[in-house]
Amino acid sequence: MRNLYTGAVAGLAGMLVLSALATAQNAQNAPQNNAPKSPWKYYPADRAVGDGGPAPKRDLSGTWAGPSSGSGAPRQKGEVAPPLTDLGKQLYARNKPIGKFSPGGTNDPHSRYCDPFGVPQNMTQEIRGLTIATTPNRTFLLLQYMDLWREIWTDGRSLPAKVGGRDRDAHDPKYNGYSVGRWEDDYTFVVETTGLAAETWATKSGYPHSVDAHVVERFHRSTHNDLSLAITMTDPKLYTAPFNMGEVYFRWVPNQQLDDFTCIPSEQQLYLKEMGDPAGSDPNEQNPQGTRGGRGGRP
């Protein structure tokens, strides 16, 4: 038994050594670039060191690197979906997520056409860079991916009571809905959103939402360099309990500069024509993204 245990330890050590060697080998493959750095360029390898000291009170302003920015921000926690209602099951069954079907078979409106993610998916998918800007009555979230901005009112107003439907006094649903924000404490900013355009998917894995979905985002700045975002969605028409949409982590970007990265419909169509559709799809695949952070979580 002792030999087995020793063997397992040796195996683990071997794996770690091989992993380190592989990383070193790959680092050697990366070309060296000694060109002077430009203040106009995003350098994902330039990363904030340590925690940078205490977080300033009631201030999220600045530019942050998300988990898909290549900057080393921690990977996000994935969603945990609650049971669906009968209507929720019907809507969910229509969706063929790209994690399962690949580009050739998915009907994900973003993957096929670059349609907007909308809230809440645009806070859990393709989270590359995020700039937060604050004015006296609003906070703006400026997302690198899709060059997208969200408007969060902080003037004390309530969320609109009636969105969608045929009443003359109803507001129109919007991709990013209607948002209000408040400080829960000196380091936690809470955003509530409703009135979401129902044609968007709530998650990349194909979970739906209704126009009445109520999304709560909790931004917590624990240090100068660390920001987290936990998201919960309540949508009683489609789910029997609140939907834990996971947690995303950000790191401060030293030179506060981001790159350009967006989904361009013409490029997407070119990609699908030349590559995605010819490569086909395998609907028998067991949702590989369900085993990775940020995706999956079937009920």
């Binding site: 038994m1 397992a8 683990l12 794996m15 967006t262 490029e267 990609y271 695949e285």
Partner: protein
Amino acid sequence: MKTKLVMMVVLLAGLAAIDRPALAHHGAAAFDMSKPVVLKNATITEFLWINPHPLIKADFKNDKGEVEHWTMEMGSTVSAQLLGWTRTTLGYGDVVTLYVWPAKTKLPVGRFNKVEFSDGTVMRDTQTGADDGRRADGDVRQ
């Protein structure tokens, strides 16, 4: 001791499961990740630096003397830049050797693995650039 051994086996299994090839925008099911196709002395016909994935297009003359027109996708532009890629890394007329994880459809499309230039330099993909199909750089996400 038995409990410790079981825990160790579970730990090893977990480590082995980490970082398996699964593509960021879509699953790897469309591709045969067991062995790359090698396109020796292929000629680049187009390098499209586009989203969601840059495309490499190349002509390859097979053993029968027939020219195959291949298209392969890479990881995203922002991640590829971390490994030194730019929109001019490949250009029309470049003669290189390409390694590709082929599509199961048997069409001449696939997921890019790596390229060998005539001077021996090797450039890899972000997510499937290692020789076993894993990530070329653990910090590169997608």
